[in-house]
């Protein structure tokens, strides 16, 4: 044969072989997870990792997993043969490798963290020492993609255009480069975190000013200049390549926001909308060219900038691993990228991997869509009101939503209401005057989409807006379609069918027309305008598919055929946000699994593309829909479920319980009335009173005199906090009327709408319980004790299991109160109670009638399948019948012979202007776990896992508020004992020296300088009270955070760190597999 086909000549290192069978020499493979959820790295890696573990085990491999994040599905005991919830450090991964001796390691499934750890393990010689082979994309390929210079050189070599850039050290050099390339240029100072000091230079004056500032701010006086592609179209391709050099493009995506906004912060649409076939194919070919040159074996994301006015393009970035974009592409198309990448890693060709959608064809195919997919990021600015909302090159979103429809407008409006921000359409976020609106549109913050709609509403033209924002006129035209339709509704012209096709919600139409949501819904139902559900099948209906994956669309044929088997609908939790993280997806997934195990058809409704719950193989049916009353009711009307579970999807799902119940839906488990009684402050107090359970006395004050009356009644000290947190004002403890007056005066804005909440402060230990109730008995797998005292949000506290300072009597009292409350409220399913324990007295702080943040952790460490037990309880299977022995109505297994802690992880570095001080508002984005034989050992692992592994010897800067000084002494002593050198601000240093602790004094300015120069390894800083914001402390905390120095604002945390460091010695505690401790407890 003359061989006419090997057209895309063999690649640098691939193309030499094909049809490799699964390697016979592999028996055991290690998978590295991505660790805690932080901004930029969220639930998508649980989805990827879970798929990968399943895929590898399908090939008969033994899977060893390391991931420090207990809230993930992938760290469930059923997902891998050996699960290590251990720190993702070289030392602990090496210990796992030494113990388990895997032959291979897949580096590309655990995000950037997993990739970096794999590279570090190789660099440290660990992989060579134990003969561990990197599977899939190889290290040289990873380096070619990750190393800036190597990547650039590779692209130049294959003639793929990269933006011109140059490292400069002087203004003159900057001028010369500008002369060569032209303006605008991006200026990036070297080694400043979050790109501070950089900017875009549009004029020679700009350039001089920004470069001068950048050179000054860069610790090494170095600045990178790069051609600015600001305003170009940003396009991504998700590509797969196997060892036999077969390549496919799974999906392309177009950002509505042009280059300049991080793709993770961009509104993204799939497939691309404004590319013609030549553009589409040229970039696809370039993506193949690039992954071949790099040598990817698995999945890869390639990002391009495309000139909106010519054929020119540049390669911006390549990620040689599964990513947030690959998760989105998987959900957008139905193609399981991570699963296929895992199979490729162990030697299968794309043409040998079965296509899970058709079941008959292979994974070598390119999905084609017959719908439009929209992703909108979910930002944390509702929690961080002081944060800079402006979007740029640093990602700020914590999560995202996705929506699917047959029209762009429909997908857009569904995505907007999926955000769970109270938006039922493109309503203006605030009434800005015209000039400010024009600025807001250009400024690109999280509300830009809404501002764009408002600008169009006020008559701005598409060309003018496109010019000002770089948003393609095509997108603006689609937004205008929505705005014009709104106008028709307001004018009384209501073509309901057409409006529904454009994605209008009943609620939005109700408010635009003045008729109200209920009236619109009635009219819609009466006229028979209901959505049909279309299948996501990867192939635009060309082939018969059985994917149980649906989205709603108005008009046309319904494909979600009735199924006679009884079904239960599980409501998911929507986008990952602060306070409602991956833990709630964990609950949703387990609820689905438990239902299926019980022989029921499990249907899930959710809109988060990152998660395991929206993997179409998780439930019997997946509806990718907003979690609003309307969207959920539409699915309920179709599926006619025997019940709906609202208790596993966080507050999003709980909030739907009452409306659904009123609409006649059977909410399983705890009744909506019961939920309401738990959540309403007044009603809950009545319940507590009737049970003689103590709760810190309190009240709400609308004015200072009222506050004083309440404080006198409940008794000082009091814990005060605004019911509506503005400007990050902390909860505060007031010890006397003067304190209270000072606080109220500084807190301002105490109004009847936003009263001040005042509770008697009990300086005790916070304790938390997650329990399963069947209405008569409770199953309490364990009690969690918090390290930080009241005042720090429980989600931001270190939680320890088993509790180490509670007496048997207190534990019994906690169990008794849990039972009494569960019975009184009629809880069936999960409940979470926060207690404060003062000596032998137990007080209840709050009760949540739902799954909680700590359920995955407790499930992992106790082996009690809490969600499954709860689901069975909601199906009226008593705990006794499930095999739990509940003497006196309580099943509380004995404490185990180990200690585990759950530690919060924060994303401070990503969010400027956010105070790192802990307070009543939750700020953490994720969590890690530490497990050890002793309390200090568990703490040590936990600190290591969350990046607070302070290396000893080290220097701690201590700045303590006056009132905390005596309490700080033992903490500082512990740090000293652990080998830390102490420097302190003047007042603190003095009090330390008085107590005999050696501490060097630094003035405020010197302290700042010490932090900036990198000579400080830890900052312990407690907050001064009574001031608006202690600016010195704030600046110090921010400076430390930006430089990656751990900051502790609670003495309790600092004490725990001292304990961990002090007793650990040099040895890393041995790794411990879940399978060896989480033995299911059944008595």
């Amino acid at each position: 044969m003359h061989g006419f086909l090997p057209c895309i000549a063999s690649s640098p290192e691939g193309g030499d072989s094909f049809s490799m069978p699964v390697r016979q020499d592999l028996q055991s493979v290690m998978v590295i997870g991505s660790g805690p959820v932080v901004i930029g790295q969220a639930a998508e890696f649980d989805y990827a990792g879970t798929q990968a573990c399943v895929a590898l085990r399908e090939e008969g491999l033994r899977v060893v997993l390391i991931n420090s994040n207990p809230a993930t599905i992938m760290t469930d005991g059923e997902m891998a043969d050996r699960v290590y919830l251990e720190p993702l450090t070289v030392e602990s991964a090496a210990a796992v490798i030494a113990k388990e001796r895997p032959q291979g390691l897949v580096a590309t499934l655990g995000g950037q963290v997993g990739l970096n750890l794999a590279v570090a393990l190789a660099d440290a010689g660990v992989l060579d020492r134990y003969g561990v082979e990197i599977l899939g994309t190889q290290l040289p390929a990873i380096r070619k993609a990750e190393d800036r210079e190597l990547f650039k050189a590779t692209m130049v070599q294959i003639s793929e255009p990269v933006p011109e850039s140059k490292i400069i050290h002087t203004l003159a050099e900057a001028g010369a480069f500008a002369g060569q390339i032209g303006l605008p240029l991006i200026v990036r100072p070297a080694y400043t975190l979050g790109g501070s000091g950089g900017g875009i230079a549009n004029t020679p004056d700009d350039l001089r000013e920004i470069v001068r500032r950048g050179l000054r701010m860069s610790p090494i006086g170095q600045v990178l200049l790069e051609r600015s592609l600001y305003g170009w179209k940003e396009i991504e391709y998700e590509v797969m390549r196997d060892a036999g050099d077969r390549c496919i493009s799974v999906c392309n995506m177009e950002n509505l926001d042009p280059v300049g906004v991080h793709t993770g912060d961009s509104i993204v649409v799939a497939p691309s909308q404004t590319l013609n076939d030549r553009d589409f194919q040229r970039l696809r070919a370039a993506a193949f060219h690039i992954v071949r040159a790099i040598g990817v074996q698995g999945g890869c994301n390639v990002q391009f900038a495309l000139d909106p006015n010519s054929d020119q393009y540049f390669v911006i970035e390549v990620n040689p691993r599964v990513s947030r974009s690959s998760a989105l592409a998987s959900k957008a198309t139905g193609y399981p990228i991570a699963k296929v990448a895992a199979k490729i890693a162990v030697g299968l060709g794309l043409d040998e991997i079965k296509n899970p959608v058709t079941g008959t064809t292979t994974a070598f195919f390119e999905p084609t869509l017959d719908y439009c997919v929209m992703k909108i990021p979910r930002w944390p600015f509702d929690k961080f009101s002081t944060a800079d909302r402006r979007l740029g090159t640093q990602m700020k979103a914590t999560g995202e939503v996705m929506a699917i429809d047959r029209t762009f407008e429909g997908a857009l409006q569904k995505a907007v209401r999926s955000l769970d921000l109270g938006l039922d359409g493109l309503a203006a976020p605030e009434a800005l005057p015209d000039d400010q609106l024009d600025q807001a549109v250009i400024k690109a913050d999280d509300r830009r989409l809404l501002f764009l709609a408002e600008a169009l509403r006020r008559g701005r033209t598409i060309p003018a807006l496109a010019q000002a924002t770089g948003v393609d006129p095509w997108f603006l035209r689609k937004i205008l379609n929505i705005v014009e339709a709104e106008r028709e509704v307001a004018a009384g012209r209501i073509d309901l069918f057409r409006l529904k096709r454009l994605g209008f919600s009943d609620a939005r139409l109700g408010s635009l027309s003045g008729a109200g949501e209920a009236a619109v819904r009635r009219m819609r139902v009466r006229t028979g305008i209901r959505p049909s559900y279309k299948m996501v099948d990867t192939c635009a209906a060309e082939f018969e598919a059985t994917t149980p994956y649906f989205y709603s669309a108005y008009g046309g044929e319904n494909e979600s055929a009735p199924d006679q088997r009884p079904c239960v609908i599980v409501l998911g939790s929507g986008p990952i946000r602060i306070g409602q993280g991956i833990e709630f997806d964990y609950g949703s997934v387990h609820a689905v699994w438990a239902l299926r195990k019980a022989g029921l058809r499990a249907v899930i409704i959710n809109n988060n593309p990152e998660t395991v719950s929206t993997d179409f193989s998780t439930a019997d049916r997946l509806y990718f829909e907003p979690l609003t009353f309307e969207d959920v009711m539409n699915v309920i009307d179709l599926e006619q479920p025997v019940g709906v579970l609202c208790q596993f999807g966080g507050q999003t799902a709980v909030n739907l319980a009452v409306p659904l119940h009123r609409a006649g839906v059977n909410v399983l488990g705890t009744t909506p009335e019961g939920m309401d009684r738990a959540e309403d402050r007044g009603l809950f107090e009545d319940v507590l009173e009737s049970l003689h359970i103590s709760r810190p006395a309190g009240g709400a004050a609308a004015s200072l005199p009222e506050a004083e009356v309440i404080a006198e009644r409940v008794g000082f000290p009091v814990l005060v906090r605004p019911s509506y947190v503005l400007g990050g004002r902390a909860m505060e403890i007031c010890y006397d009327p003067d304190d209270l007056r000072a606080y109220v005066q500084s807190a301002a804005r105490v109004t009847p709408e936003h009263p001040l909440l005042i509770d008697h402060y009990i300086p005790g230990r916070e304790v938390e319980v997650d329990a399963v109730s069947d209405g008569g008995s409770v199953l309490i797998p364990g009690i969690l004790e918090h390290v930080e005292r009241a005042g720090v949000h429980s989600g931001d506290s270190i939680a320890v299991y088993p509790p180490h300072s509670l007496s048997a009597a207190v534990k019994a009292q906690i169990a008794r109160q849990t039972l009494d409350l569960a019975r009184a409220l009629g809880i069936v399913g999960l409940l979470n109670i926060q207690f404060v324990v003062d000596g032998e007295e137990v007080h209840v702080l709050e009760l949540n009638p739902r799954s909680s943040r700590t359920v995955p952790f407790m499930t992992k460490v106790t082996g009690v399948p809490m969600v499954a037990a709860a689901v069975r309880a909601t199906l009226r299977e008593s705990l006794e019948a499930q095999g739990y022995d509940c003497p006196g109505g309580i099943c509380l297994p004995p404490d185990p012979g180990f200690v585990a802690c759950k530690m919060p992880v924060f994303s401070w570095a990503k969010l400027h202007d956010v105070d790192t001080a802990l307070g009543p508002e939750m700020k953490s984005t994720g969590e890690v776990m530490g497990i050890g034989r002793t309390y200090p050992e568990a703490l040590r692992k936990g600190f290591l896992a969350c990046g607070l592994g302070v290396p000893v010897p080290a220097t701690a800067l201590v700045a303590i508020a006056e009132r905390d000084k005596s309490e700080a002494l033992p903490v500082v002593r512990a740090l000293v004992q652990a080998g830390l050198r102490i420097v302190a601000t003047p007042g603190t240093a003095e009090s330390l020296r008085e107590a005999g602790v050696a501490a060097e004094t630094l003035t405020a300015a010197e302290a700042m300088e010490a932090v900036r120069s990198g000579s400080i390894n830890l900052l312990v800083n407690t907050l001064t009270r009574g001031r608006q914001r202690d600016s010195d402390g704030f600046r110090l905390r921010r400076a430390a955070t930006e430089l990656g120095v751990p900051v502790l604002t609670s003495l309790d945390t600092a004490g725990a760190l001292g304990l961990a460091l002090g007793t650990a010695g040099d040895d890393v505690p041995p790794p411990w597999a879940l399978q060896d401790y989480a033995v299911p407890v059944r008595t």
């Binding site: 006419f4 895309i8 050099d245 013609n276 064809t361 292979t362 390119e366 095509w474």
Partner: protein, 357 residues
Amino acid sequence: MRAKLVLEDGRGFEGEAFGAELRAPICGEVVFNTGMTGYQEVLTDPSYAGQMVVMTYPLIGNYGIREADAESLRPHVRAFIVADPCDVPSHWSSEGGLADYLAENGIVALAGIDTRALTKHLRTKGTLRGAIGLAEVEDQALADAAEAWQPGNLVAEVTTPEAYTVPGPGPHVVVMDFGAKRNIIRSLVALGCQVTVVPADTGADAILASAPAGIILSNGPGDPELLTGPRTCARKLLESGVPMFGICLGHQLMALALGGRTSKMKFGHHGVNHPVKEIRTGRAFVTTQNHEYAVTDLDPSVAEVTHKNLNDGTVEGLRVLGRSAFSVQFHPEACPGPGDTADLFREFVAQLPVAAR
């Protein structure tokens, strides 16, 4: 104006007419195309003569129309059926909108159709004939019209009326035009070939008299077994020993000339994502395809199957034993679709006799 498509089995789909004015019902074979971009290339692909094309991707017309993207002088589809056409396109190179283009070229189009339901119907029932009429026309009348419709001599409608030559410094390649896409000719010209495009009814003797270094049998519309003249011509050309390359219909003609058969597929392959495996090397490619017939019954002593479709196993390529002749069912010229197999043109040109270059 409300209008509808009624298939020969009576299933109707109502939508809004756009494009050319719908005066009288029009009929054709209804096929679906799964490409998400490339609607203009689809409209102008002569292989779609006689067919009404349903686009499975709902948003069509987004980037407008431009002359450079046309695969022939004018659209050839009988009608165009979409869900949500774009009235205000956006692309720097756009020269106009879809609706105007269709109107100017006399192509009737339907919008607001549940194209997914229509596609599923065609997938289940197989390709059907259909008729488009105004909403008030009786369904039965349209179904009857559809059933009565027969394609004429489609190749004759789309082939070049007379031969023409595109000059080039390299080897002389004759393209037998059964409805050739422009990019076949562009691809050859780009490789330096001198290309002579001849009408579909040109005889073998006339072609060989022009002393071609190589011959291409182009793509085109309709049932290959009806093309008895070209089949005979292809057989003679094969016997001449001149290197040959068949594409799509040209591939089917080559197979027929070798004594093979073609059979009508249930709903054909129309899209830009068809996976093809090269048997000898194990490599795989994503290809553009547009055909309703597949090659069968090849005599392995005469020709070797070189490519197979990874989805349904149909023959995607063959090589004539002992001859410099091969053919592929897919479209290496792409347009629309991926250029993964574009190097087939290079392979073809590379094997042309050196003396003739």
